[in-house]
C-alpha cells in the first residue's frame, strides 16, 4: 500500500516523467522532416557515439538528408550484421572491421562502390595508404572505403634499451635479435626483452609477411605454410621464446599489461594505436618520457620498415539499401581531410586519408609519426571469409611449437593440412563458378 502522504510526490514524479518522455520524444521521435530522406548508419563502439558530433554539419550541407546513427558494441557487431542480412534488415551504410569485407562480399550483402569512386572528387584511391585501401578491394572491385586505420608498431622503453647499450632502434631482424639479447642479459632472468602474447595471431603472421610468406596460395585455395618463407619466420618467432627473450604467456595471464610494462617486466611490445591513449592514461607520469614507438624492423636491411597489418574500419554500403546515393554522400563527407582530422581529435583513431595527417595535432606528435611511417608499409591479410579461423589456428599451432610440443616442420605440415580442409568449401565454390557459365 502506498501511504497517502507520498501520493503528491508520486503524482509529481509521474508528471515529471511525462515531461521527460515528451522532451525525449521531441528529440528522438520527431519525424525526420517532411520529404527528408532518412539514412540509417550503423557505427561501432565509441566511434558510433562520437560520429554524431560530425553529423550536424553534414545535414546542414545536405538539407534533404537525415542520418540516424545506431550504435552497436564491437563484440556484438559481427553477429548482428549477419543476422541483419539474413533478416533483410541491413542498414544503408555501416562501419565494419576491414577484415569483414571479404565475408560480407561473399554473402553478396555489399554494394560495389567502384563506379561511385570513379566519379568522386573526394574519395580517390591514391590519397589513402595503399595497403589499407587494398583491404576493401576484391576481384578488382571496391566494396569498402577506409574510415580510420590501425596497424602494429613497436612500443619500447627507451631507458631499458639505453641501459642495455642499445642506442638505436633496430631496423633489421638481425639487429633486433641482437638488441633483445642485450636487453635480456641486462635485465636478468626474471624479466624479458619483448612481450609476444602466445594467444595472438598478429605477431607470427606479421613476421611471416615480413619474411615474404603469402600465407595462402593459388588464389586462397590452399595454405602456403610449408613454403620456406613461413618456416623461416616461425623459426625466428619460436627462437625468441626458446632463448627466453619473450615469456611464454598468453594475454589472459598478463593480468595488467600496462602495470607490467611500467615495472619493466618487458621492454618491447608489438601493438596498435589504441594503446597510445592507454599508455598515456595508465602509465605513471614519471614514465611518460621513457616510452616511444617505432616502425617494425624488416627481415633484410633496405626493406625497412618491415610490413605490418593493414587494420582499421571501413565504411560500406549495403546492396539492399534504397538510399545509396545519400549513403555515399555521407561516406564522401566523412572522407574529407577536415572531417578525418576532426574525427581523430574526437577519438584518437588514425585518419585513413593521408592529407589529414598534415594537421597540427598529428604532425607534431612523434609517437604517432611511427604509425604514419608504418602505414605506408602495410599489407592486408588474405581477403577470404575463412581467414579469421585460419589466423587463430596459426596462433594455436605456433603456440604448440614454441612450447616445444612439435617442431617447426610439423607445425607447417599440420597447418597446411588443416587449412586445406577449411578451404574445401571455397575450392568447391570457386570451381563451380568457373565451370558454370
Amino acid at each position: 500500500m502506498t501511504p497517502p502522504a507520498s501520493r503528491p510526490w508520486a503524482s509529481r514524479r509521474a508528471r515529471r516523467l511525462g515531461v521527460v518522455a515528451l522532451l525525449t520524444c521531441a528529440a528522438a521521435c520527431a519525424p525526420p522532416g517532411k520529404g527528408r530522406e532518412e539514412v540509417r548508419f550503423w557505427a561501432l563502439g565509441r566511434e558510433g557515439e562520437v560520429v554524431q558530433q560530425l553529423l550536424p554539419e553534414f545535414e546542414r550541407r545536405n538539407p534533404g538528408v537525415h542520418v540516424t546513427v545506431q550504435q552497436i558494441p564491437w563484440t556484438a557487431a559481427h553477429e548482428k550484421l549477419l543476422t541483419a542480412y539474413v533478416g533483410d534488415a541491413t542498414p544503408d551504410l555501416a562501419q565494419i572491421g576491414n577484415t569483414w569485407v571479404p565475408e560480407l562480399e561473399a554473402l553478396k550483402a555489399l554494394q560495389d562502390l567502384s563506379p561511385l569512386i570513379a566519379r568522386s572528387p573526394v574519395v580517390r584511391p591514391d590519397s589513402y595508404f595503399a595497403g589499407v585501401w587494398d583491404t576493401g578491394v576484391i576481384d578488382g572491385k571496391t566494396w569498402g572505403v577506409p574510415w580510420y586505420v590501425d596497424t602494429r608498431v613497436l612500443f619500447y622503453r627507451k631507458d631499458i634499451l639505453a641501459r642495455a647499450g642499445v642506442t638505436e632502434v633496430p631496423r633489421t631482424w638481425a639487429a633486433w635479435i641482437e638488441a633483445m639479447k642485450r636487453v635480456k642479459s641486462s635485465v636478468g632472468p626474471d624479466r624479458f626483452a619483448i612481450l609476444l602474447p602466445t594467444d595472438e595471431w598478429a605477431q607470427p603472421v606479421i613476421l611471416a609477411m615480413q619474411a615474404g610468406s603469402t600465407l595462402l596460395r593459388d588464389g586462397g585455395r590452399f595454405g602456403a605454410f610449408r613454403a620456406p618463407e613461413f618456416r623461416h619466420a616461425l623459426e625466428l618467432y619460436i627462437s625468441l621464446f626458446r632463448d627466453r627473450l619473450a615469456p611464454a604467456l598468453g594475454m589472459n595471464q598478463v593480468a595488467n599489461v600496462y602495470q607490467q610494462f611500467a615495472e619493466g617486466y618487458f621492454a618491447m611490445y608489438i601493438t596498435g594505436p589504441w594503446n597510445l591513449g592507454e599508455f598515456r592514461r595508465r602509465l605513471p607520469p614519471n614514465l611518460q618520457d621513457v616510452w616511444a614507438t617505432a616502425p617494425l624492423p624488416a627481415e633484410r636491411a633496405g626493406d625497412w620498415p618491415g610490413v605490418s597489418l593493414a587494420g582499421g574500419s571501413s565504411l560500406v554500403v549495403f546492396g539492399a539499401s534504397k538510399h545509396q546515393d545519400a549513403a555515399w554522400k555521407l561516406i564522401e563527407f566523412l572522407s574529407e581531410p577536415s572531417q578525418q582530422g576532426a574525427f581523430y581529435a574526437l577519438t584518437g583513431d588514425l585518419p585513413a586519408v593521408r592529407a589529414a595527417w598534415n594537421g597540427p595535432a598529428l604532425a607534431a606528435d612523434p609517437l604517432v609519426r611511427a604509425f604514419f611511417t608504418q602505414l605506408e608499409h602495410t599489407r592486408p591479410v588474405p581477403k577470404i571469409p575463412e581467414w579469421e579461423q585460419i589466423a587463430w589456428r596459426t596462433a594455436e599451432v605456433a603456440e604448440q611449437a614454441l612450447r616445444g610440443r612439435i617442431s617447426v616442420d610439423e607445425a607447417a605440415v599440420t597447418l597446411d593440412h588443416e587449412v586445406d580442409r577449411m578451404l574445401d568449401k571455397r575450392r568447391y565454390l570457386l570451381d563451380r563458378k568457373r565451370t558454370s557459365p
Binding site: Y85, K108, T198, L249, Q253, K425
Partner: protein
Amino acid sequence: MRSEVRAGLLFIAPALALITVFFFLPVVAGMLLSLTDFDIYAIGSLDSVRFVGLGNYATLLSNPVFWKALGNTFTYVLLGGPLSVAISLGAAMLLNSKLVRFRGLFRTAYFAPVVTTLVAVAVVWRYLYHPRVGLLNQALGALGIGPVDWLGDPRWAIPAIIVMAAWKNFGYNMIIFMAGLQTIPESLYEAARIDGAGWWQQLWRITLPMLRPTTVFVVLMTMIGYFQIFAEPYVMTGGGGPLNATLTIVMLMYKEGFRWWNMGTSAAAAFVLFVIVFAATSLQLLLQRGREE
C-alpha cells in the same frame, strides 16, 4: 474417440504444441543441420549447401582438437563432479549441525558466489592465480614451493578452473542437501546414539542412505553441468588455452558455430555431446535402480 480421451488430449495440447515447436523441431533441425556443410556461404545463398551425410562426424572424429576437448570434458566431469558434490554435502552437514551459530549468515555467505556475476568472480580468481603476484603463489612461496603458472601451465589449468567452478557453484547443491538433511527424522539419530553408534556409523548408516534420492538428483545435475561446462573456462582462459588444455566440447561447438559459422560441424559436436550425456545419465539411473532392488 471417447470424450474423456478427447478432453484429455485437448488439455495437454498446449503443452505438447510448445514442446514440439520449441524442443522436438529444433532437435530434428539440428540433426539435419549436422548432415550438411551449412556455413557462412550458405547464409548468402542456400544453393551452396551440400549434403555431406556423416561427413561432419567423420571430420570431427579425425580432428585431434575434438579428442582433446572430449578428454578435457571428461576430466572436468570426473574431477569436478565428485569434488563439487563432496564440498556441498560437507558444507550442508556443517551448517546443519546444532553446534553452528549464525547459521543464516553462513548459509547466505556460502550461497553468495552462486548469485555473483561469473565475470566479476573470474577477474578476482585470475588475480589469485597470477603466476607472479597472485595470492596463491605468494602463500606457496612462503612455504618454499616454487611458483606455479596456474592458468598457463596445461597440467594445472583444468584443476585451477575446477576449484574455481566448485567454489562458485557448491552453494546451490548445499541448499538442496540441507533440505534433504532436514527431512531425516531426529529420532533415527537418537536411536542410533542409544545403540552406541559413533559419528561415522551415523553418517554411513543413516545420513547417506536417507539422502540417497537427494544425492542422485545432485549428482546427475552436477554431472550434466560439468559435461556442459563453458562459461568458467571461457572467462578464465579466453578461448580454451593454454594449448587447448581447457577447451571443452561446448566451447568447441560455440567456436565452430558462432565464430567460424561452420554450423554443420557445430551441430555434429552438439549431437555427440547429447549422446554422451544421455548415455551417462541412463547408466547412472540404471545403476541406481539396480541398487534399490
